[in-house]
């Protein structure tokens, strides 16, 4: 369900990297509005600036210039401690390589964002177990990541992203390390989470994956184009570039 009230407003965002004297314009003046409850995918070939853009949306890094409002807060110029708090409350990250902490059990990984919220142990427990249940892994709460399959690990990561009940779920190539069957399962979870009201931003180079979203935007050489879906359908020249 899309509510017409932007949760993300990005205007003329720029980011460049200096690498050995050369400057790479990873993002050149990108503007994007995302509505609350939307499911949007950002598609583009490798090196096009997807991860850079995700880092900006996810408040992991600050843009060089431009405006960024997240839930009507100007986050583009916040201090790193404020950004940490925003990440904790507003964004749930789902990474390509799961990024679970190997020493911690599934349950402990899921409760981590709540620990940084200074929530009481009993409350954390309830929420974390609830999140694991949502992804169908309640019975694996005490397993270590190494004792779980790739698909299960990614579901734990989704549970972790959900635990803090953030308005935005940000997934960077969430199926990139999974086989097609497990990929489908993960994407179905994403779809159902969207139906439950989470705003989802899915970053991928795979058109099949991107098509799960209501809206597909395309990124190329650090520039954003609205008509992602049609462009790829017409040209068939995105996926193989990966």
């Amino acid at each position: 369900m899309i509510i017409h009230e932007p949760i993300i407003q990005i205007k003329s965002m720029k980011k460049m990297y200096e690498l050995g004297g050369e400057t790479v314009m990873a993002l050149q003046s990108v503007s994007l509005d995302i509505q609350k409850g939307d499911f949007i995918s950002i598609i583009g070939p490798s090196g096009s600036g997807k991860s850079t853009f995700m880092n900006m949306i996810g408040c992991l890094d600050r843009p060089d210039s431009g405006e960024y409002f997240l839930d009507s807060e100007e986050v583009g110029k916040m201090k790193s401690s404020q950004l940490a708090a925003i990440r904790n409350k507003k964004i749930g990250f789902i990474f390509q390589n799961f990024n679970l902490i190997p020493k911690l059990t599934a349950f402990e990984n899921v409760e981590l964002p709540l620990i940084y919220r200074e929530m009481k142990a009993a409350e954390r427990r309830e929420i974390a177990l609830g999140a694991l249940k949502k992804v169908g892994l309640a019975d694996r709460a005490n397993h270590l990541p190494t004792q779980l399959s790739g698909g299960q690990q990614q579901r734990v990561a989704i549970a972790r992203a959900l635990a803090g009940n953030p308005p935005i779920l940000l997934a960077d190539e969430p199926t990139g390390a999974l086989d097609s069957k497990t990929s489908k399962e993960i994407l179905e979870i994403m779809n159902s989470l969207n139906e439950q009201g989470h705003t989802i931003i899915l970053i991928t180079h795979d058109l099949e994956v991107a098509k799960r979203a209501n809206r597909v935007v395309r990124i190329h050489d650090g520039q954003l184009y609205e008509n992602g879906g049609e462009w790829f359908a017409d040209n068939k020249n995105g996926t193989e570039e990966h």
Partner: protein, 384 residues
Amino acid sequence: MQTIKMALKSIKGNKIRAFLTMLGIIIGVSSVIVMVAIGQGSTKEVQDQIGSLGTNVLTVSVTGSDVTFKEDDANQIQDVNGVEAIAPTVSGRVTVKNGQTNTQVSMIGTTSSYLDVRDLQLQSGRFIADLDHDNHSKIAVLGSDTAQTLFGLGDPVGESVKVNGTSYKVVGVLESVGSSLGTSGDSTIIVPLSTGQRLASTTEIGSVYVKVENEDAINFASRLIEQTMYTIVGDTDSYSVSSQEDLMETASSVNETMTLMLGGSAAISLIVGGIGIMNIMLVSVSERTKEIGIRKAIGAKRGNILLQFLIESMVLSSFGGIIGVGIGVISAQIYTLATGTAIAYSVPVMLLSFVFSLLVGVVFGVFPANKASKLHPIQALRYE
């Protein structure tokens, strides 16, 4: 609380490394505990010996080798105001033999007043009489250990022993002066002063024990004796007059010096231990860069990461401290059982070395923890 649990977990995850990391601290702390226990044990022994002197007794020692101090000179102290009794002594080491059994003991040649001045008790027989002194009698009073060594459970009074080859008649046995004195206090043989001077082949008096009439006037008496000694000896560096209190002070100043040295070596070993901790923590930070990135991505602030690593190094160092105290106590116990030397545990020293090791954890943990907390989340996440 949660942070401590996390720290324990990550330490448990690599026990051997944690142990090796703590080793420096363990060795540092346990060696401090052992050394202090032994050091204070011997200090206590010395203090007990001094304590047995009694608070109304002064010791006049002649230390200069080129001065003469004879029995007549010593007797002048008797005339000093406030002096109740004196016991001039000459001392040396002798071999005492009964049949096939022989033992090395310390010989004290003295007068009849020694028993009263030193506040000793007789177990059996009598003490030296003035007549024995005048007659150069070959009689002896045995310390309780000497008696037991030579005669076992039998009564030595009336028997004779050979002192450096000459036959002496045993007239009495002293009561033990107590175990706190250690072994040397009871391993003695006391002979008349004149006889003792022959045994030691000297006519000099080594030291004089002085009993004062009034305990409260002991400092006054001490000053008067100093003056008398000056007129006799004529050189202030060749004699000393000391009360129990003075000796205690000297002993405790020795103790302080020793404590300082122990403290210094402890500090060095703990610093070395701290460097070990810092080293491992730095390795741990770089190994866990990815973890730090993940934690930061999901909302850990700099302070959270800093605290996590700091607590980890503090847990390591304080664990090391606790284990060190434990090993120290056990080793000191083994030492005292094996050698029979007295030891004394000092709770403040144990607490202090524990606190110090905790502090080492903080000081040497700050740098790695700060390094971890400053990692940029993206760089950390990209790290493989």
